[in-house]
Amino acid sequence: MCGIVGLYLKDLSLEPQLGALFAPMLISMSERGPDSAGFAIYGDEVADDWIKLTLRHEDPNFAWQALAEAFKQNLQCEVLWFNNDKVAVFKLQSSAAAAADYLLGNHRDVQLLSTGHSIEILKEVGTPGHISATFNLPGMRGTHIIGHTRMATESAVTMAGSHPFSTGLDLCLVHNGSLSNHNRLRQWLLRRGVHFATDNDSEVAAGYLTWQLQEGASLREALSQAQEDLDGFYTFAIGTRSGFAVLRDPIACKPAVMAETEHFVAMASEYRALASLPGIQEAQVWEPEPATIYAWERGSEGSTQ
């Protein structure tokens, strides 16, 4: 089943409230996904010559300070970090590749959940309410956020199966549905240099978009081509550094509803996830059309359907 939710602010004065607005949306989708939950939040950007990583370690007492020192010495760079439960956000004056290589060579026990300039991914096994409280989601600020509540069908209830998935810089995807050609597509993408951390079908969709964007496609072009190359059922919500998009497959079995006001754009699997948003009674509320790309990009006006 699964529930997906997204909130993209048009009115940036709401940035300090992003987490508080979003937490009830995520929690309202508990019945659709009680097994694990997570979210990707965008904001708090680092400079272009810095990189931001979200890291996770099974040990809640993991020595993050020691890892910070190791980054400093080995990558010869400035390091800022803070941790939040089992997750830590690291900001390095270095490159994503150098940081990932160092972790791969020296700290295979540390999971790399996201890399980029803006994105932070926080996810755990457990109910959405538990995840929201663990990471203090209501206290978070940012520009846009997408989240997922998982009812496991395609693979086990583990961290590896928890959404959101990020396979490229600042790119994140949440998925309600199931893909049927993910194994073959994963092999195809592996040969083109895309890395995968799990066997999950949704990660393949994220990897596919990453590859398309690396090849120079715009988000809209990548999603357009995805409709040709991805086989299965899906409603996707996609986040990029400055953008937000929603796409349903042509059959459109998986639900989705969207709402827009002058202050925000929101999407959810069901309307009740939007019911707590301010001004929702006056919002434009609609069901996204099948096989239609809905995208918003900061710096451009409105939706570019």
């Binding site: 639900p255 019911a275 509320v285 609609w286």
Partner: protein
């Protein structure tokens, strides 16, 4: 009139109170506030009630309705009036997919648009949509009437049995075994009555009629009466 605010009354309590009216009618007029997209609001009614729901509803609102008149002053989620037997359901806004699915009787009016699969497997209900319907509408429709004042999406009436379909606007494509048929006087009359019942102001002669070519299912003209 009895007013129930779903922000401070559990949904089951509302539905229980409405169901109790079936055995003894104590209050015919009901108003529901703050539905907040909850599922299964006012399901399984079986009494001549008037229920006004102010706001957007979730899945299966007014499902299995008998006799009652339910008005949703907002949008409806999936499966509104699913399996309705009699009475009427009116959606002032838009409806999500599978509106009126498998419904046997009564009148479903959607003033806005209905999404995909409107009237899927309908079995006798009359559905009037003021706007457009999405793809696969009236899939395997068995009996009843679907009136669309706007456009219809892909594969309208796929695997159709005996539903009468009327569309004023364009049809993106017809499903298997669904064909356009001539609009005769008897159809104008049927359509006029339904548009009147729904309170829609359209010229019946502007509609096109679609129905089953009867090539896919085992239709026998000798048994027409039983369809």
């Amino acid at each position: 009139m009895k007013s129930i605010d779903l922000q401070n009354t559990p949904l089951r309590e509302l539905n229980q109170q409405l169901h109790q009216q079936a055995s003894e009618l104590g209050e015919p007029q009901w108003q529901v506030l703050n539905p907040l997209g909850q599922h299964n609001i006012a399901c399984g009614l079986d009494q001549k009630l008037r229920v006004d729901i102010h706001g957007h509803t979730g899945y299966f609102c007014a499902g299995m309705n008998q006799q009652a008149e339910v008005v949703i002053h907002g949008n409806a989620g999936q499966g509104v009036a699913e399996n309705m037997m009699s009475g009427s359901v009116r959606v002032k806004g838009n409806a999500s997919q599978c509106a009126g699915a498998t419904a046997h009787g009564g009148l479903l009016v959607i003033e806005g648009d209905a999404a995909a699969r409107c009237g899927i497997s309908m079995k006798g209900v009359n559905i009037v949509v003021g706007g457009s319907v999405g793809h696969m509408s009236c899939f395997m429709g068995q009996a009843g009437t679907l009136v669309v004042c706007g456009d219809a999406g892909e594969a309208l009436g796929d695997s159709l049995y005996e539903v009468h379909i009327y569309v004023a606007g364009s049809v993106k494509s017809l499903g298997a075994d669904c064909v356009e048929k001539p609009l005769r006087q008897e159809h104008i009359e049927e359509l006029t009555a339904l548009l009147d019942a729904a309170g829609m102001d359209h010229d019946p002669s502007q509609f096109k009629r679609y129905g089953s070519a009867r090539q896919l299912y085992n239709f026998s003209v000798d048994k027409t009466e039983s369809y």
